[in-house]
């Protein structure tokens, strides 16, 4: 079924206010929905079957009597008899988590028509921000390179500045960088961030993202289809990825290995005919193997925010969805530079942020671009001969000392000194045992 087909009685039962304060009504559909989602052994697919054409209170009663057609094995009967939905609802109220049934008006409209949409969705923050503008998902690997992190962060920042809602998964690496970028626009009218997580909304995972998680809740919304207390398990993340895809108008994969989790998102998007874009990377970097593979498969390459905005405009122009929030004023037809793109690419010259323009200015320099502050303080002229030799041997992908020595023929002492000088000058990135150009 799809959630849009509502009968009169279900409409009446579910159109209660679904804010945290509305949960407590005894035996309400919302309470039963939340309790159903939290039953042990419940999966998104089973939940969708159980709530198919039945309102949650009825479903709850039929499960308790072992009569529900979707539960012939009476898998949930005992659990249902022991649980009081009102107690569950109180838990959600206390946790500040809103519950959205698919038939309720607070349910994100973009998900309603989706065949894989969760039957019950939880949120913390302001769920309405999903409609604040067109939505672009920025996803990618957890073990990202500096290149990927910077690209994700800049893309998200520029998209949010342009009024595009950035959707991501609050994971380490690309996801975290995307949320951080969307939050750091320095503009009051920037689009709010949207996150979809795999765990329960009270289980912050990974823990190192806890403060970022709070910020996203405060400025935007965090969604989850998992009941409170759901711990990070491998199967929850691919399921989460389908919601990210379904929410978005365009999916951008920044960096992803072969077989990486972000490819699930890309696949889920492709199945929904949502355009998938990919940021090209070095062919030597395993972190870009998946994205480069997507490009070979025909995905749109992304060089900067303009490419994404073009894809968004193309994606939305065919739909009769209400009022795209990217106003005409956001795009100015004038173009900053010649592009090989056959499309006419709108560019936001009025909204160029400071560091974006800094990045543009550096394009003529022989060095790969990096953060503006570093660029200003770095003058390649002061480098020693050794440092120049090493710099020429380094690549954007992490290079080990063995490779540096082999390519330069320098002694270890000289190569080490050159690497140190390059790192201190800001021309080179380093990590445990590797060096890479910025």
């Amino acid at each position: 079924m799809t959630g849009i087909q509502t009968t009169a009685d279900r409409q009446a039962a579910t159109d209660v206010p679904v804010s945290a304060s509305g949960i407590g009504r005894p035996g309400s559909d919302v309470a039963c929905g939340a309790a159903l989602a939290g039953l042990p052994g419940m999966t998104p697919v089973r939940l969708a079957k159980i709530l198919d054409d039945v309102n949650p209170v009825r479903a709850w009663q039929e499960l308790a009597h072992g009569r529900h057609p979707a539960d012939e094995k009476r898998r949930f009967m005992n659990a249902v008899r022991k649980i009081d939905p009102d107690v569950v609802a109180k838990d959600y109220e206390r946790a500040g988590v809103s519950v959205h049934l698919r038939t309720a008006s607070s349910y994100p409209p973009v998900l309603r028509g989706d065949p894989g949409a969760p039957a019950v969705l939880f949120s913390r923050g302001a769920p309405s921000v999903v409609e604040a503008g067109p939505r672009v998902a920025i996803v990618g690997t957890r073990s990202a390179t500096t290149y990927g992190l910077q690209t994700a962060s800049e893309l998200a920042r520029d998209l949010a500045s342009a009024g595009v809602v950035v959707v991501s998964g609050l994971a380490l690496g690309i996801d975290g960088a995307a949320h951080t970028g969307a939050l750091r626009t320095g503009r009051l009218d920037a689009a709010p961030p949207v996150a979809v997580v795999g765990t329960g909304l009270d289980v912050v995972y990974p823990k190192s993202n806890a403060s970022l998680w709070r910020e996203v809740e405060d400025h935007g919304v965090v969604f989850s289809e998992a009941a409170l207390g759901t711990t990070p398990r491998t199967r929850v993340f691919p399921a989460r990825n389908r919601i990210i895809a379904a929410l978005s108008d365009v999916v951008v994969v920044v960096e992803c290995q072969l077989g990486g989790g972000a490819l699930y998102t890309a696949e889920a998007a492709a199945r929904r005919s949502i355009p998938v874009c990919a940021v090209p990377g070095s062919v030597r970097s395993p972190a870009s193997a998946g994205t480069n593979g997507l490009l070979v498969d025909g995905c749109t390459p992304v060089r900067d925010v303009d490419d994404v905005l073009t894809a968004v405009a193309l994606s939305r122009c065919g739909r009769d969805s209400p009022a795209p929030a990217v106003q005409a004023s956001t795009f100015v037809a004038a173009k900053g530079r010649d592009r090989a793109s056959p499309r006419s690419t709108p560019t936001r010259s009025a909204r160029e942020t400071k560091s974006t323009s800094g990045r543009r200015q550096s394009q003529g320099s022989p060095l790969p671009s990096g953060p503006a502050s570093v660029q200003l303080s770095f003058d390649p002229g002061v480098l020693s001969d050794d440092a120049r030799t090493v710099l020429a041997a380094l690549e954007g992908s992490p290079t080990t000392m063995d490779a540096v020595l082999r390519r330069t023929g320098l002694s270890l002492a000289r190569a080490a000194a050159a690497c140190d000088a390059l790192v201190r000058a800001g021309a080179v990135d380093t990590g445990p045992g590797w060096w890479a150009t910025r």
């Binding site: 073990s143 077989g259 972190a287 992908s397 992490p398 080990t400 445990p432 590797w434």
Partner: protein, 513 residues
């Protein structure tokens, strides 16, 4: 009739001299052993009787009582077969008392009268200094090690031995034997087996780290994906080390003898041993101990040489943490209810591990492990243990170009020459290797150029170097300068090299914490 034969048994890794008293008297035929014998000694009754009969000698049909004095010490091992047999022969009048005057006996008997070698002969002979020691032929080389040549005699079987004692035949000449007794387990590291450094193609960084580790005695941690040649590199480390000096060689020989490892032809271990225990090793097998008698562990068997811990993340944390104190002190004290034993354990530790469970981590973008899995993996190595590794490097698979090029790397012999020179420099500073330079001596032994001092200060200020790491880096820089024959002063380039050879070890494991 009574006979007293001097012999020795193992207590821990030391020999203790004992007397074997044999009394043969009239009475019901029987055989009693008293004086805290263990099962092996009590069983010697049957071996001794069969050996005498097989050798054509007479077993007295009288009452035989054997006392092992002092009676308070527990005696173990089969080495008392021979002194008991000789005692019976003397006490029953088969052999003249004068024939065994001033002789001590150690050895095991076979049922056919053959003499078999036993473990720990080096320390047993040491305990019997002052006597002429009569030992099985197989153990003669070990017995000769602590004593002067003339004080050891040996024979291959009991009948031959008795004839020599009686003066009917001359003693057989002692000669060097190839390592014997295949039942004793794997032999020590054999320089011919382990391969030459020339086999390692490419990997200039890892080769240099190996050279610095050998020259300075710095413990080395190799982190890299499977197939990057970590084991191959570690196997070639002992070849770079100089020969053992005689006191260390003797210590190593004693331990290997007690542990039952075969010794080289002349009994003295001269090449540094190489031990690579499997990661399933128990704490006792690593540290030493045991119930029946104290056995040295792998860290003592590696004394003077290299202890290689492959797949270090798979060792149990108990075993790894037990290594910390011995590594610091150069010896290990094993205490049990029955007593305390001290084994030497001065060794060069080489650890090898994957950066994370999937093996591909370390470089961004390649690893697919979950954060939790990486943390669990890295947590198996405690920070204090990681801190023992002066050198920590990332090893990578050799490039395709290097693999197909036929150009061999620098051979072991050439590198070993530089290592020996650097070790000689360290000896002039009064230490075996630069890793042992005491903190207060660093200012005197490691004078810094202005550039080097400024670089270290910079690293301290920006937090890439801790106060604790500072001393380590100075010692490594000293070794690097010695290898470069740079004279007394340590320059900035040496410090640079030292810093790059000492990656942050937690970070190498893909986990900063």
């Amino acid at each position: 009739m009574i006979a007293t034969i001097p012999s020795a048994v193992l207590v821990g890794v030391n020999g203790t001299r004992i007397s074997v008293e044999v009394h043969v008297s009239n009475g019901l035929p029987g055989f009693t052993v008293v004086g805290l014998p263990d099962a092996a000694v009590r069983e010697s009754r049957d071996r001794v009787r069969a050996a005498l009969l097989s050798s054509g000698l007479t077993w007295p049909l009288r009452r035989v009582t054997v006392n092992l004095a002092p009676s308070g010490v527990r005696k173990g091992g089969a080495g008392l077969d021979l002194p008991i047999a000789i005692g019976v022969l003397v006490a029953s009048g088969e052999l003249d008392r004068e024939a065994v005057d001033g002789l001590a006996f150690v050895g095991e008997l076979g049922l056919d009268g053959s003499l078999r070698g036993i473990t720990g002969m080096v320390v047993l002979a040491e305990a019997l200094a002052g006597h002429t020691v009569v030992v099985p032929e197989a153990s003669a080389n070990e017995a000769r090690l602590p004593a002067a040549d003339g004080d050891v005699r040996s024979a291959g079987c009991l009948r031959l031995l008795v004839e020599c004692l009686a003066g009917r035949r001359p003693w057989p000449r002692l000669r060097s034997h190839p390592p014997s007794a295949p039942h004793r387990g794997p032999g020590p590291w054999d320089p011919d087996d382990s391969g030459d450094l020339a086999d390692v193609t490419g990997q200039p960084f890892a080769r240099r780290a190996l050279e610095v580790a050998a020259a300075g005695g710095h413990h080395l941690l190799l982190v890299g994906p499977p197939g990057s040649g970590k084991t191959m590199l570690a196997m070639r480390l002992p070849g770079l080390l100089p020969d053992l000096d005689r006191p260390t060689g003797l210590e190593v020989s004693r331990i290997h003898s007690v542990a039952g490892l075969p010794l080289p032809g002349d009994g003295l271990v001269e090449r540094p041993p190489f031990r690579a225990p499997h990661h399933g090793a128990s704490p006792v097998s690593m540290i030493g101990g045991g119930t029946a008698w104290m056995r040295p562990g792998e860290i003592s068997l590696a004394h003077g040489g290299v202890l290689f811990l492959d797949e270090m993340g798979e060792f149990s944390t108990t075993v790894l943490d037990a290594l910390r104190q011995p590594l610091e002190e150069g010896e290990v004290r094993v205490s049990r209810a029955r007593g305390t034993a001290t084994f030497p354990a001065r060794l060069l530790m080489v650890g090898a591990m994957n950066p994370c469970p999937c093996g591909e981590g370390g470089l961004p973008g390649a690893c697919r492990c979950s954060v939790g899995a990486k943390e669990r993996y890295a947590r198996r190595l405690s920070a204090p243990l990681l801190d023992r590794f002066d050198l920590a490097i990332r090893v990578d698979r050799p490039s395709v170009d290097d693999l197909i090029s036929s150009r061999p790397g620098e051979p072991t012999a050439a590198v070993a020459t530089r290592v020996a020179e650097a070790r000689a420099q360290a000896a002039r500073r009064g230490v075996r290797s630069n890793a042992e330079l005491p903190g207060p001596q660093l200012d005197e032994s490691v004078p810094m150029s202005d550039g080097a001092a400024a670089l270290l200060e910079l690293c301290l200020r920006d937090g890439t170097l801790s106060a604790r790491g500072l001393h380590r880096v100075r010692r490594i820089a000293r070794t690097v300068a010695d290898l470069d024959r740079a004279g007394d002063t340590v320059h900035a380039s040496h410090v640079h090299e030292a810093l790059v050879l000492r990656s942050r070890r937690g970070a190498l494991l893909g986990f900063d914490g």
